[in-house]
């Protein structure tokens, strides 16, 4: 029987009522009395020296409040990078300055040069057009290989080259790795590109800066996944403001997908300008601006080699990746191709020798940072593609080859720094075989062939490191922040509860799922519990939402705080019933004394906490509010197996997805419906990457796919109905809920399944195609089929 409340139940998402009825409160809905508007003048070339910047005519335009240029920010800090990667020689990465407004040079199309603050948005835009700019164009740096050649144009003059770092993980002894390859019975090699993507949340970024002259307090309303992180970075590294004088509010946020984690120049600008102009300052990105200023995702070029012994055991894996950083280091950019990518190269397999090399490269393009999955999709894609290719080359079933090499004993120390605490990859694959109906594939293929179509089945596994992350571990790896989270549980006198959480909900359904946990622990109705998030003045602290961490880390803090509440409430109950604390039991919202018929209700206890007429004041304080910070002991390791069935039209190369099945192990599940939705959305994004999306710059650094006319987002009819199975569950061993996180899995696990399926289809049609880079567009499939 499915439960109808508490952990494991699927109540509908309470937040959807406001989203679906137009009652949401997004940042662009916020208008502060007297606000002015900012328009950023952005570079329309990829790389240039600013020889002249004359704002005098623009300043005289109607409505202009003030025009800011780089000169206004001399001495102000630049946008910081939150993770220092140490290269293979022990040296720190090259870290160029990232100014709020360009200082002497522009480095990508969209790089902000000047900011016009005016009474209206249109006036600001008019005035920006009147700024006279003298740009001396420099050669664009677009191709990563060329960027690393001797004598290449440098993106940053003060750096020694365009190489940010050259990093190695796993076996550092090149000769040892080579020996493993020399000894191999078979080596499969694959070169591939994991293309750049634009995140494209439905809501473009917005920032409103407000300054109160009377109290010297700043408020920033912003489209962020982590308001405390923004406050910390902006205060400590950029503007030098005292944190207690700065409030950051991220109200309803219309999707993030990673690109709203980062601290952006526009946020610091609006905060700064509100004080400088003594007026609230608002910026709303247009979609075109979003394409040119939101951090983009992926963009790896990789060579991967897999060594197998004569029995098809994986013996070694070597990867060489070029990772595009874009023009500047966005907040977590440096960690994505290293600690979020290299560490996952073991996948679900017990390959004993692994060497991962990543060279991060500066180019004159929009900065690249975490995008749903962040490094893990890149790792999964190359590994699961090379395994598929190897299976074909050695002539074994790709599922059998995977099963043979699965990690089966836990905990398992990978050669690339992680310890998987638990998992059951064979069990998950068993679920997939049923969910995807492997048995019926041959008949479906025959049916497709009758209709002149090629049908393919693609399978892959994935593992991710989520629940980011143990602070001591990430600190050792170069993170400049801790990655714990926090929650305050505030019980009101009448028994209802507000939980202030550091995790931010922008599509994940926290407002529904988190109360399910607290309500279950206490035994009260979910409607009595509400979460509060997205405002640094209301919540204790929080590192925000990304890396599938909210429930695993912040949810754990919430559990700890609720445990403290229950302990204290038991003491009060014991006092009321004149019993000993140890004898008090809490069930269904009623405290009773073990072995007696004495009981008091939850509401009696909470009222007593706030009306302490009869209260153990000598032992405990009145009130009922507790805070907990939670720092996880390890990452969590969601894992799964996905299967995709495609049809290929051999005449046009068009791929249609006919079936898609996902078997995931997320550990325990709080709200199965929300988890289904997260997986559906993730797979949709993965299919978008596999078939449609492509962020392309031309040789001069112009973004060719700069609007929806050329950047193909997945639409409803591009995706099939999904079969999703979460019944394979190995609970996380180290957090109190046993949860692992589910937000990124779909986007991580699905691209290789799609591409593997396309290759399988083409092979079945007698076309010996080894690989097609994503997006697997009709044109690319047709080209691959025709030589």
């Amino acid at each position: 029987m499915p439960k109808d409340s508490g952990i494991g139940a699927s109540p509908k998402r309470r937040e959807d009522v406001r989203f679906l009825t137009g009652a949401g409160n997004y940042t662009d809905d916020i208008n502060v009395n007297g606000q002015a508007y900012v328009h950023f003048l952005r570079s329309d070339v990829a790389h240039a020296k600013i020889n002249g910047l004359d704002t005098s005519a623009a300043e005289a335009m109607p409505g202009v409040v003030r025009i800011f240029t780089g000169a206004d920010f001399e001495g102000v800090g630049g946008m910081p990078c939150g993770w220092q990667v140490t290269d293979r020689h022990g040296d720190p990465m090259q870290e160029p300055p990232h100014p709020i407004l360009a200082q002497g040079k522009v480095r990508h199309v969209g790089d902000p040069i000047a900011a016009v603050v005016a009474d209206s948005a249109e006036q600001a835009r008019d005035a920006a057009e009147a700024i006279v700019l003298d740009l001396e164009e420099l050669p664009a740096v677009v191709n990563m290989k060329a960027a690393l050649e001797d004598g290449a144009t440098k993106v940053h003059d003060d750096l020694t080259s365009n190489l940010c770092y050259d990093w190695v993980l796993g076996e550092t002894d090149d000769a040892a790795v080579q020996k493993a390859f020399d000894d191999a019975a078979h080596v499969t090699t694959l070169e591939l590109t994991n293309q750049r993507l634009v995140a494209n949340p439905m809501e473009p970024r917005v920032a409103v800066g407000d300054y109160n002259r009377g109290t010297d307090e700043h408020t920033l309303y912003t489209t962020s996944q982590n308001p405390h992180v923004i406050r910390l970075l902006m205060c400590a590294f950029v503007l030098g403001l005292p944190e207690h004088k700065v409030r950051v509010i991220a109200p309803d946020v219309g999707g993030g997908f990673g690109t709203k984690i980062f601290h952006y120049a526009e946020e610091a600008f609006c905060t700064f300008a509100a004080k400088a102009c003594n007026r609230p300052v608002k910026w709303t990105a247009s979609r075109s601006e979003a394409f040119l200023s939101d951090a983009q995702g992926r963009d790896h070029v990789t060579k991967i080699e897999l060594a197998l012994d004569k029995d098809n055991n994986f013996t070694a894996l070597r990867t060489n990746t070029l990772a595009n950083m874009g023009a500047y280091l966005s907040t977590f950019s440096s960690s994505v191709p290293t600690w979020l990518h290299g560490t996952l190269m073991a996948g679900n397999y017990k390959t004993p020798v692994i060497q991962v090399n990543v060279k991060a490269v500066f180019t004159t393009t929009v900065p690249v940072d975490a995008y749903r999955g962040a490094g893990r999709p890149e790792a999964t894609f190359q590994l699961e593609r090379v395994i598929d290719k190897a299976a074909r080359e050695v002539g074994v079933d790709p599922v059998a080859l995977r099963r043979q090499n699965f990690v089966t004993e836990f905990p398992y120390d990978t050669p690339v720094a992680l310890t998987y605490d638990t998992g059951d990859y064979n069990g998950t694959m068993d679920k997939l075989e049923v969910a995807a109906d492997f048995a019926g594939f041959a008949a479906r293929r025959a049916e497709s062939e009758k209709n002149g179509k090629l049908r393919g089945l693609g399978v892959n596994c994935y593992i991710e490191a989520c629940g980011i992350a143990p602070s001591n571990v990430v600190g050792m790896l170069g993170a400049r922040a801790g990655l714990y989270d926090a929650a305050t549980v505030r019980v009101n006198a009448t028994g209802s509860i507000s939980v202030m959480v550091g995790a931010h909900s922008h599509g994940q359904g926290h407002e529904t799922a988190f109360p399910q946990v607290v309500a279950e622990m206490i035994g009260i109705d979910e409607s009595q519990v509400e979460i509060v998030h997205g405002d640094t003045s209301k919540i204790p602290f929080g590192m925000g939402t990304y890396g599938s961490r909210s429930l695993a880390v912040c949810g754990s803090a919430m559990v700890r705080a609720t445990e403290k509440i229950i302990n204290k409430a038991k003491k009060i109950a014991a006092h009321l019933m004149e019993a000993s604390d140890a004898d008090i039991e809490l069930k269904d919202g009623v405290f009773s004394v073990a072995g007696t018929d004495k009981s008091v209700a939850w509401g009696d206890v909470t009222l007593t906490a706030y009306v302490p007429h009869n209260f153990p004041l000598e032992d405990i304080e009145p009130g009922l509010e507790e805070t907990a910070f939670y720092d996880p002991a390890n990452f969590t390791y969601p894992a799964g197996a996905y299967a995709c069935e495609v049809e290929v039209d051999p005449e046009t190369g068009k791929v249609t997805i006919e079936r898609f099945a996902a078997a995931d192990d997320f550990g325990n599940i709080v709200n199965p419906m929300i988890v289904d939705g997260q997986v559906h959305g993730g797979i949709g994004q993965g299919i978008g990457q596999a078939l449609l999306e492509n962020c392309v710059y031309d040789d001069s650094g112009q973004l060719l796919s700069a609007s929806y006319m050329d950047y193909a987002m997945p639409r409803a009819d591009d995706v099939p109905f999904y079969t999703v199975d979460h019944s394979s569950q190995t609970p996380c061993t180290h957090n109190p809920l046993g949860v692992k996180g589910c937000g990124e899995a779909g986007a991580i696990g699905s691209p290789p399944a799609v591409v593997n399926a396309v290759i399988d289809a083409l092979q079945s049609g007698g076309k010996d195609v080894g690989h097609i880079d994503m997006p697997v567009s009709p044109a690319r499939v047709w080209a691959a089929m025709n030589g």
Binding site: G653, L691, S705, Y708, A712, P778
Partner: protein, 261 residues
Amino acid sequence: MYNFEFVKPASVADAVAALGEEDAQALGGGQTLIPTLKQRLAAPSKLVSLSGIAEMKGVSAADGVLSVGGATTHGTVAAEAGAYPALADLASHIGDPAVRNRGTIGGSLANNDPSACYPSAALASGATIVTNAREIAADDYFQGMFTTALEEGEIITAVKFPIPEAANYQKFLQPASRFALVGVFVAKYADGVRVAVTGASEDGVFRWSEAEAALSKEFRGDALMDLKVDPANMIGDLHGTKEYRAHLVGVLTKRAVVAAG
């Protein structure tokens, strides 16, 4: 957007007069023009809306000719051009419902986007573009990407399509915009077959004369077997190479012939 004046005349004569002003521009459904204005890529002083002109709206069929008013929306054509099913079908696959409820045939033909659908129908049907001043044969009207025979201020008031014996439009979607990556309109008349191709050529919509000759002899998909389109003049971009588009022209033409029956 820059500021502009806005007028909504009720007759073609008033619209023509309003368009006589310097930098005045006609506004059909605004599905191309409004995004252009929003991006500040155009700065007309005055927009002359054609949507209030009753004489420019509606679909009617008589004597083997389907007439569509220049300000008729795609949605109306989809619903009311039953006398020319292939044309109604084409209109029903333009953009999304919002686009179809605003966008007009006059706007589409005036704009002559190289990937738009209607130009292929007009050219394959040997349609007549009727303006406030004259009648222009489709063969003379389309003059390359975004270029037409229209004079400054000239308004398309109607389009007259001779109704073919059989016809079909095959649209292969550009994955992002869902305009035609390649679209082929085949129309079979008593005196021969016409084939017009959109989306493919650097020169905009064009007639594939070899296919027309072959199909006029024998209206069967197989008739095209030995024909190839020269990739040289095709569009090559991030959605498809010249060779791919040339190949698609052949595939889609064959499919259109088969579907037309």
